[in-house]
Amino acid sequence: MKIKSFPHGVHPPEFKELTAEKPLEQMPPSEKVMIPLLQHFGSPAQPLVQKGDEVLLGQKIGEGKSLFSASVHSSVSGKVLSVESLNHPGGSPVLTVTIANDGQDSVFPERRGEKNPFSLRPEEIRQKVKEAGVVGLGGAAFPTSVKLSPPKDKPIDTLIINGCECEPLLTSDYRLMLEAPDDILKGAELARIATGAERIIVGIEENKKEAFELFQDKLQNSPGEAVLLKTKYPQGAEKNLIYSLLRRKVPRGGLPFDVKIVVQNVGTAKAIWDAVKDGKPLYERAITVSGQSIKEPKNIITRIGTPFRDVINFCGGASDEANILVMGGPMMGIAQWSLDVPVVKGTSGMLAWPAPSLSREYPCIRCSRCLEHCPMGLVPTQLAKYVKFDLFKEAEDWGILDCVECGSCQYTCPSKIPLVHWIRLGKNKIISLRKKSA
């Protein structure tokens, strides 16, 4: 069998052995949870509760009103302590509902399950997914109901289930694939119905052979298939995954819809199933807690809103030499400066290790490694130079907005130039200039 892949990319060290064999463990809910009203790509949800209110597990506490938004639910039962702006692991402070857990986990009564989910019509599935506040759990946290609503003029033929988990260290998707393959496939089937796709393809990297064989087995007598992919970063990046599996190129600035494809992460597929089958809102998720400095690396299922500090303590704490704490994977994750931020829907991992001191930056020697490894076919060093000199028009012409910030360029740069940082700065400036002129 030929193993599929995409051109360019990098091979960072994986360190997945730290947690690959650790089954998902349910972490007991914290005494206090902090639930931000913005945990997704889009506009924040509107608060539905105020200080002093009693809330139940799974009760909606924030309403995602606009199209690009998602509702937010309480992950414990208890009393609302405050609704105020608090630090968010994504960077800037966000309006956050803090709830004192009464330890009862009293479930919100209005939870409506579905006896026969597969008989639902596409819009009913989308509605239930939206109601449950499901967002993409791969990291970008794009509202799932939007992804399940392809425009009428863009028919979908394939639903891709992304089981790549190409970020080093992370293994929670792998564990989900091993421990809940049926839920994932049923969720995928619902997503297939919702998008009108004809078939399902599950893409899994070679380093997760066990999961691949399991899915291959389960999909034997179905129109779906599991496909083995080369272990290479960023295999799980949407546009690269589509190219690897189907040799289709998403047009610049376009969406997978444009090539008749919808991609969902394995965790999202399971969340879709939970949302439709049991009416269970997205109030907990699987995350990998790992890294050299975490004393007991684990895969856990934790409630949204759990402070990082509690998660790390649950995993034996972190050793003193740790000086970097990352939410997500080491390639695209966000460095944290505080342990008092909550787990959000987009938190796929929590990693801590002693980072080596900053390496000296050298001038670009035009070795061309950044473009040799860029999975999007960009020239990162040139983009960084344009941004440095405020040449935003040129940067745009050279495709700065096509950058997915995967970090392959900076990973491989021998001059240690913070290329992604420059590119991100340029993207932000271009977008804010556009807003100004609009």
Binding site: V10, P12, P13, N240, K249, V250, P251, R252, S293, I312, G317, S319, D320, A322, N323, I324, L325, V326, G328, P330, M331, M332, G333, I334, A335, Q336, W337, S338, A352, A355, L358, S359, R360, Y362, P363, I365, R366, S368, L371, C374, M376, G377, L378, V379, Q382, G399, D402, E405, C406, G407, S408, Q410, Y411, T412, C413, P414, S415, V420, H421, R424
Partner: protein, 324 residues
């Protein structure tokens, strides 16, 4: 984990271990066989020229860093040492010490620092130094001595390419044997005489992934094609492509000069155009130009196109349509 120690940094948080100094030192290691060969064939002359060029290059670099108030750590990246070694290896063994030093100063000053130092120069610094010497001191730069292992006792001595150009070597039957070219038992610049040593170093650089394989291959292909056509047409007048590959500065140029990271193009397409252009220009100069050898001018000539190639031969972005 104490919060206060946490470092904020932009992703990615993993970085490859390779670095600029490591790359530069790999290049120095790759030059070792050629340096050893030059010491073997030219003995004391090689020692003098190598030391003079390296010391003068590093000193000039230090002087410029001091004048420009730049941090001195860039002195230790190894790039000035490489320029010194490369320049020495392309000098005639009989060249005087003063001229070697002048060449080295020009290489660093006008070839590199004037543009802003490492990473900003347009032309290969060692070749800038050599081109200056060639133009200013033509006689010194075209006087050749036989290598110490060559037992020919003649007052005047010509390089294999010189014989080919000025003495009609093919027709006269005095073409240098390929075996001598391969092992280095012949006249020529300090480091270009032993093909074997240069190939060893070049393979190391390819294996270490420092240089782009397209460059030596592209130059090889176009030079072979160019000289091959004439050789097939009239083997009684023109030398074979293999002779052109092994003689003169082809190997040192293709493996060590044209592949200079800073002065070669970024994109694969640009790199192909650049490499094919160098090979073609070498052939043109050797067969029809006024000089017996054309590697240096060919590389400098194509260096000039690199900014243009970087601009117009950029890679295609994923999902980009051909022409809209």
């Amino acid at each position: 984990m104490p919060d206060k120690k946490l470092i904020l940094q932009s992703s990615p948080h993993f970085k490859d271990r390779d670095s600029v100094p490591k790359i530069m030192y790999a290049v120095i290691v790759s030059l070792a066989p050629a340096v050893i060969a030059s010491l073997y064939f030219f003995r004391l002359r090689a020692v003098i020229l190598l030391l003079a060029c390296v010391i003068a290059c590093v000193a000039t670099e230090a002087l410029f860093l001091w004048v420009r108030k730049r941090p001195f750590h860039s002195l230790y990246d190894g790039s000035a040492v490489i320029t010194g070694i490369l320049l020495a290896l392309t000098l005639p063994p009989s060249l005087s010490l003063e001229l070697a030093i002048i060449g080295a100063v020009v290489a660093i000053a006008l070839g590199k620092q004037i543009f802003g130092g490492l990473g900003y120069n347009i032309f290969n610094p060692a070749l800038v130094g050599r081109a200056f010497l060639q133009t200013a001191f033509t006689a010194d730069m075209t006087t050749w001595i036989p290598s110490l292992t060559d037992k020919i006792d003649t007052a005047t001595y010509a390089t294999p390419l010189g014989l080919l150009k000025f003495q009609d070597a093919v027709a006269q039957g005095i073409l240098t044997p390929l075996k001598n070219l391969f092992l280095g038992n012949t006249g020529g610049c300090l480091g270009e005489t032993s093909a074997l040593a240069l190939i060893l170093g070049g393979l190391f650089l390819l294996f270490r992934r420092v240089i782009d394989w397209r460059i030596p291959l592209g130059i090889f292909l176009s030079l072979t094609a160019f000289t091959g056509i004439f050789w097939i047409a009239d083997p009684g007048k023109y030398a074979s492509p293999l002779f052109h590959i092994l003689a003169g500065g082809f190997l040192i140029g293709a493996f060590f000069m044209a592949t200079d990271l800073v002065t070669s193009p970024l994109s694969p397409l640009g790199t192909w155009i650049y490499a094919l252009g160098i090979g073609f220009t070498i052939g043109l100069i050797r067969l029809f130009g006024g000089f017996p050898e054309g590697v240096m001018y060919s590389i400098l000539f194509m260096n000039a196109f690199v900014p243009l190639l970087n601009r117009y031969a950029r890679p295609r972005i994923l999902g980009e349509r051909r022409k809209e």
